[in-house]
């Protein structure tokens, strides 16, 4: 009886495994691809080393005045010295704990909403949405129950950006949902009103809306009734954003199969209960990623309040770069602003993608 012994397998060709194989498959699979790789590598070499040199290696990190920036790279001392102003604007220094506290309350209060296993999430969420804005307004604005009043003209920096974005979205959501329902209504008059409203706001740039709210709103209102600058901007932002939210929500409403409407009607539910109990919970769940995307757009758009003279993050930085003591720091200032905006927007867009995957529970076939 003879036994066969197999020889061991030959190792795969060196060029198809490991680093070399990966390089060949992904970077140099053909001569054209190889050229593209070289081109991309050249681009990277052109951009990245000088950027690192400027932003990190040659940069000045410590110091207190302009004189400490000697090495020729980025002067981050400028950002460090003006950091408080970029974050809080002209909010009195000794009261800045109130802003911090507001932010921490938001983080702590909203944290349970992100835990999937939390019971009675909807009730808690609604309660939070009602209680928190009142609390936040009291903390930020003060003027009652022993807190000193801080006028909105003193608000600024990143804090103002966040206030405008969050109030904007909180105000625009209910209005947008109502508009979306109105647009899908079977009553022609209501539909026409809603369509006109939505298309009007979607057709004009936010800048003209802000101009309008700052210049024309005082003309529209009766004598004695006036809002401060921030309030006027907020009204403009809410009206503008509600139109976009309405279109997002409409997309969700259209995705709900007709059977759901018919089933709800067969159960004897009236319009509002049908919408509130059956349609909207499903539709809103579908469009959460869309709403987050709208929020990202709004967050970026808040920078436009510079046009009507509010001191948000961008405007604070712009003002600081025109300070004679720190002239010529425009690049540092705008790079810092870009970094802050980028962190927020990128974080939110990742979260929206995560939600999209998580909520994609069999509605799409």
């Amino acid at each position: 009886m003879s036994t066969h012994t197999f020889k061991p397998d030959l190792p795969p060709p060196l060029l198809s495994v490991g680093v070399l194989g990966w390089l060949r498959a992904n970077l140099f699979s053909s001569w054209f691809n190889g050229l593209l790789t070289l081109f991309a590598a050249y681009l990277i070499w052109l951009v990245v080393p000088p950027l690192l040199q400027w932003a990190i290696i040659d940069a000045d990190w410590v110091g207190t005045t302009r004189a400490d920036c000697t090495s020729g790279g980025a002067c981050w001392v400028f950002i460090q010295q003006r950091f408080g102003q970029f974050m809080y604007g002209f909010y009195p220094t000794e009261l800045r704990w109130r802003v911090d506290l507001t932010l921490w309350l938001a983080v702590i209060g909203a944290a349970p909403l992100f835990i999937s296993a939390m019971p009675r999430k909807a009730v808690y969420g609604l309660g939070f949405l009602v209680v928190y804005p009142l609390l936040a307004f009291w903390l930020l604005h003060g003027g009652s129950f022993g807190l000193r009043e801080v006028a909105t003209s003193q608000w600024g920096g990143l804090m103002l950006t966040l206030v405008i974005a969050s109030v904007g979205i909180a105000g625009a959501l209910p209005l947008g949902i109502m508009l979306a329902l109105g647009r899908r209504s079977e009553m022609p008059a209501i539909r026409v009103i809603c369509v006109t409203f939505i298309e009007f706001w979607r057709g004009v740039p936010l800048i003209t809306v802000l101009f309008m709210s700052s210049v024309m709103l005082p003309l529209f209102l009766p004598e004695g009734m006036s809002f401060d600058k921030l309030m006027r901007a907020l009204i403009g932002v809410i009206l503008f954003q509600s139109a976009y939210i309405a279109e997002v929500v409409r997309g969700g409403l259209q995705a709900i199969p007709k059977g759901q409407y018919e089933a709800a009607a067969a159960m004897g539910l009236g319009y509002w209960r049908m919408m509130g109990l059956v349609i909207l919970p499903q539709a809103l769940k579908l469009v959460i990623p869309g709403i987050v995307n709208t929020f990202i757009a709004l967050f970026k758009d808040t920078s436009l309040v510079i046009i009507i003279g509010l001191f948000d993050l961008l405007n604070s930085i712009k003002q600081a770069t025109t300070d004679p003591v720190w002239l010529g720091m425009a690049t540092e200032g705008y790079v810092f602003a870009a970094l802050v905006f980028w962190i927020f927007c990128f974080g939110m867009s990742r979260y929206s993608m995560h939600l999209e995957r998580k909520l994609n529970t069999g509605h799409k076939r």
Partner: protein, 394 residues
């Protein structure tokens, strides 16, 4: 068995009848809208009277009395506000059109690059897209304007390319063509060449439909486009005269100049919008199922034709609707010009003119209707194109 029709439905009170309710709601809604409208109108009337502002559009005929850095039509300080309006409108359109063209080209390249099998190219495109779409456009405009354009050297130390293009803090100076006597012949030759190409394309398509034999159009088109205008130039001389900018004193004279505001604005807007268009292009291409490619290849189509005849037409159907809204966004974002003082519709009209005349309502109304009109025309144009590209189903 016969039941009278009006018994078939149980009768409740009139209030629960859906038809009655629908009418009621609509009447209430209309009354509410009219009432709000009247409230605003009435307040405005009283407020205007109190402030002594006369409403009306007669201010458009008054002399403006301020200069404008960039005007595509003749303009001087004694011209009217009405003319200022057209200067602003043209400047807005200029930025929008250049921005849309640049953003589309960059966006398509980046979108395809992101899908490239080449790992490095894909990553470069991804980093570009994720960086620029998460930074507010106004901030990008500020960056290009304040941090880049304004920190360029002055005219005397300008960066130059071959003695013809000069870049400095006052803008980009470049040679300007002006038609010479032979321009008419040259232009005529170009027109004839284009007509020839169109006819050639038609003939080749008709022959392809009839016989199945393929004639490469470019084989005839390129010589046609080179030879005819070339002959015209040889016979009658140079059709264009170029005036190059020259440094005289403290500034350049002659040639064309792109003001720094325009450069910063178009750069920022096209870089920003290209990131979004790239994403639309990517999702459009990914929406075409792989089976389509396989089917085309199994029919014997080469790679280039697969792309041109199978993938792109189907991808375009997915790409066009979001592309439309990106174009709309770009046109609307061009109003951010107000932030750096580029003389567009908003900064000229809703800014300077409004401040000088105080006619807030008229000025804002005109501005808003211009943007509404631009938005509506872009979406109508794109809807028309979309309809042409749409799937025709039986």
């Amino acid at each position: 068995m016969q039941t009278p029709a009006n018994v078939s439905r149980p009768r409740g009170s009139v209030w629960t009848d859906p038809k009655v309710r629908a009418w009621l709601f609509q009447i209430i809604a209309v009354i509410a809208v009219v009432a709000i409208g009247w409230f605003l109108f009435d307040n405005t009337q009283t407020n205007l009277e109190k402030r002594g502002i006369t409403s009306g559009f007669s201010f458009l005929n008054n002399s403006a009395g301020f200069g404008i850095a960039q005007h595509l039509i003749d303009y001087n300080e004694s011209d009217t506000y009405g003319r200022v309006f057209f200067v602003g409108l043209l400047n807005t359109l200029l930025v929008s059109v250049i921005g849309i063209v640049l953003a589309t080209i960059m966006g398509f390249i980046l979108g395809v690059a992101r899908l490239s099998p080449n790992w490095l190219i894909g990553k470069v495109a991804t980093v570009y897209i994720e960086t620029f779409r998460n930074i507010p456009p106004l901030l990008q405009i500020f960056f290009w304007y304040f941090a880049v354009m304004l920190s360029l050297p002055g005219p005397r130390a300008s960066l130059e390319i071959g003695q013809t293009f000069f870049l400095n803090s006052r803008g980009l100076y470049m040679p300007a063509p002006s038609p010479s006597d032979s321009f008419v012949t040259f232009f005529g030759a170009v027109v004839v060449a284009i007509i020839g190409i169109v006819l050639l394309t038609r003939w080749s398509r008709a022959r392809f439909e009839a016989t199945g034999r393929y004639f490469p159009v470019s084989l005839g088109a390129i010589p046609l486009l080179l030879v005819l205008p070339g002959l015209a130039v040889l016979l009658t001389g140079n059709p264009l005269q170029w005036s190059t900018p020259e440094l005289t004193g403290f500034n350049f004279r002659g040639g064309w100049v792109l003001i720094p505001e325009l450069i910063a604005l178009t750069l920022a807007l096209s870089i920003y919008t290209a990131a979004f268009i790239a994403e639309n292009v990517r999702s459009g291409i990914m929406a075409v199922s792989h089976g389509q490619t396989e089917a085309a290849r199994s029919l014997g189509l080469p790679a280039g034709k697969t792309l041109r005849l199978v993938i792109i037409p189907q991808a375009m159907r997915v790409i066009i609707p979001p592309l439309t809204s990106q174009y709309l966004n770009l046109a609307k974002n061009s109003s951010l010009a107000a932030g750096i003082g580029y003389p567009d519709m908003v900064s000229l009209f809703a800014g300077t003119v409004l401040n000088q005349t105080g006619q807030a309502i008229e000025v804002i109304a005109i501005t808003m209707s211009v943007y509404l009109a631009i938005s509506i025309s872009i979406s109508m144009l794109m809807n028309w194109y979309n309809k042409r590209m749409a799937l025709i189903e039986r």
